[in-house]
Amino acid sequence: MPNPIIKINNLSKRYRIGAEEKGDKTFRETIMDWVCAPINNFIKLRNLTKFKNNDLENVIWALKDISFEINEGEVLGIIGKNGSGKTTLLKVLSRITQPTNGFAELYGRVSSLLDVGTGFHPELTGRENIYLNGAILGMRKKEIEEKFDEIVAFSEIGKFIDTPVKRFSSGMWVRLAFAIAAHLEPEILLIDEVLAVGDISFQKKCLGKVQDVVKGGRTVLFVSHNMGVIRNLCKKVVWIDNGKVVQKGDVDEVVKDYEKAQMRQVDKSSYIIERNPEEIKNSSFYFNRVEIFNEKNERTTLFRYNEKLNLIIGFAGFPLTNKYSVEFHIYNELGQMVSMGASGSYHDKYFSSNVKKIKIGIGPLTFTSGRYRILLKVLSGGRYYDIWENAAGFNIIECQPFKTNHEMSVFREGACILQQSFDEIE
């Protein structure tokens, strides 16, 4: 019998969310509000930390009765859409925030990576930030000194090590930040969606590093949106939705069911999708709307093999940087990512921060018939502003590329159909 190294028992966490302001006020009301503002503000702020049993209005349970165990040396994936409580769970387990009910027991030294580069200061040099960030993550000074050269080599920043990080490109910044995090050696490691940083080749390197950590027999709790990575790293998965455990078990089974549920959501959607405000959380810049068109500019979610698809995407909020790039991922109903694109990495196309509406053209769609969902990401310098899991869905309703009346579907004929020819030679 393997030993559980983390036991989680009925863990719950309650948050208070701000009450909405009432619209349309009369002049008198406005004046009164203004006069009473200090008192109202005081009550509102005080209530942030006070909970009464009878007011359930502005209260949400970010976690509700979560229970599961993790054995020593296990790598457990946590999946679920944005706002489902994954990060809150990691925050509770890493003691950043307190649970409201329930308890968890952890047997070992815990490190958490909820973000890379926590506490990085722009004015400090790369070298100084390695020490500062390492210490914040719980490394000893001696440990940092020993691993210093390794960290610098891993980050590939070379001679810039003594330059203030404010002069770094955002890619370098992220690489340095991850390099430090990658050299943590706790017994239990809690990782939020931080692998999704930097360019693709660096992501691969990070993934390799995490795999080493896993092989080293350490216990890892791993939150990710990327089912490919989850399948790659984890044997067991917990699926969380609305703060509750939906399903836990072997990775293949849970991911399959999760994908099915995602597809069902897509089915319900149509060709104009408004963002559910609950998913946005505290992102400064986020998607708020997407529309799907075919190449004749008609709104539709139904496509035939080899047709083209256009997405019109709307944003809200203000990016903190002066440019951003956009990524799309297309998943089939088996949960495989069948295609993707990124404006920045592959097209060198960045949108300036005042652009609030963009169009992505995709196609020709050479996929087999079936249901597909599109995930959207908006990012700047390798850091994500927003990930929209189920941005849009579409169906390939007809896939007869060779006009033979034979329907080619995702279940039998694979993910996509390539140009092909069969010729006699002899």
């Binding site: 005081f42 950043i96 925030t97 307190q98 649970p99 968890a104 506490g119």
Partner: protein, 272 residues
């Protein structure tokens, strides 16, 4: 090592073993603040000297020359600088401490650490300023060929200790409140500015009727500054009564401030 995570009522306990473990992080925070304090400035550390020095000149002109404020027969610049030395340490560090949670908000939201190390480490940078300002004090004394009572310097560690207790107490309280009510950020600089007038920096306590001097002593800095002036400059015999009251008030501040901080710190990450 077993770690249990569950809802805790009441005070967070001060786990000294844990604080010892985090001593390096404490050191790194202090080091960061010192490094950053005068980054990208032309004058750099000279600012630490310039502020009390200019204040000394202004106060000397206005209060020493124009208002003819008594200074116990000591050159007024020396008299006022002795007060400013401690006063600046007090006001700078209380500002730092009360902002320490907000300035490190990102860290508080992303990693676990015993939060009490943040206010304590943010005093260190003010202490560095104090040391540089003290050098100039030596210069001022030399300029006036004034001979102080060097044995009074023996009191220095004790006086600094009392100041730090008061700063930590008040500062932790304000830092905790500041997390929830940002009013502190606006109110504090203003009140600190006023507070100097009820501290014997620019005037000696002796100009106040004896019967009311104890009220002034409720301000911890009164005891510290008066005792320093008495012991080092020899303005008058040390008033142990004033010093005692001020020290007691500092200790009460420390207990109350720390109590409030530890009581509320578990909610910081949620509402900051």
């Amino acid at each position: 090592m077993k770690l249990v995570i569950k809802p805790k009522k009441g005070l967070a306990n001060l786990d000294f073993k844990e604080l010892w473990y985090y001593r390096e992080l404490f050191y790194f925070f202090a080091w960061r603040d010192i490094k950053l304090r005068y980054k990208q400035t032309i004058l750099g550390i000279v600012w630490a000297i310039l502020q009390p020095f200019i204040a000394m000149i202004v106060f000397t002109v206005i209060f020493g020359e124009l208002a003819n404020m008594p200074s116990n027969d000591i050159p007024y610049p020396i008299f006022v600088y002795a007060g400013l030395l401690f006063w600046n340490f007090f006001s700078t560090s209380i500002n730092n401490v009360s902002q320490s949670m907000l300035r490190n908000a990102v860290i508080i939201q992303k990693v676990y650490l015993p939060k009490v190390i943040l206010p304590v480490s943010s005093i260190v940078v003010a202490f560095v300023d104090f040391l540089f300002a003290a050098l100039i004090f030596g210069g001022v004394i030399g300029y006036y060929r004034f001979i102080p009572y060097f044995e009074g310097l023996l009191l220095l560690p004790l006086l600094l200790f009392i100041t730090i207790l008061a700063v930590l107490g008040l500062g932790c309280f304000l830092a905790a409140i500041n997390v929830k009510y940002r009013d502190v950020h606006h109110a504090l600089p203003f009140f600190i500015q006023l507070l100097i007038f009820i501290t014997p920096v620019i005037y000696p306590v002796s100009i106040i009727p004896k019967a009311y001097q104890w009220i002034l002593a409720l301000n911890p800095m009164t005891g510290v500054i008066e005792t320093f002036k008495a012991g080092f400059l020899g303005t008058m015999p040390i008033n142990w009564m004033t010093f005692g009251i001020s020290s007691a008030v500092s200790i009460v501040f420390l207990i109350l401030g720390l109590w409030y901080f530890l009581k509320t710190e578990k909610t910081f990450a949620d509402i900051i």
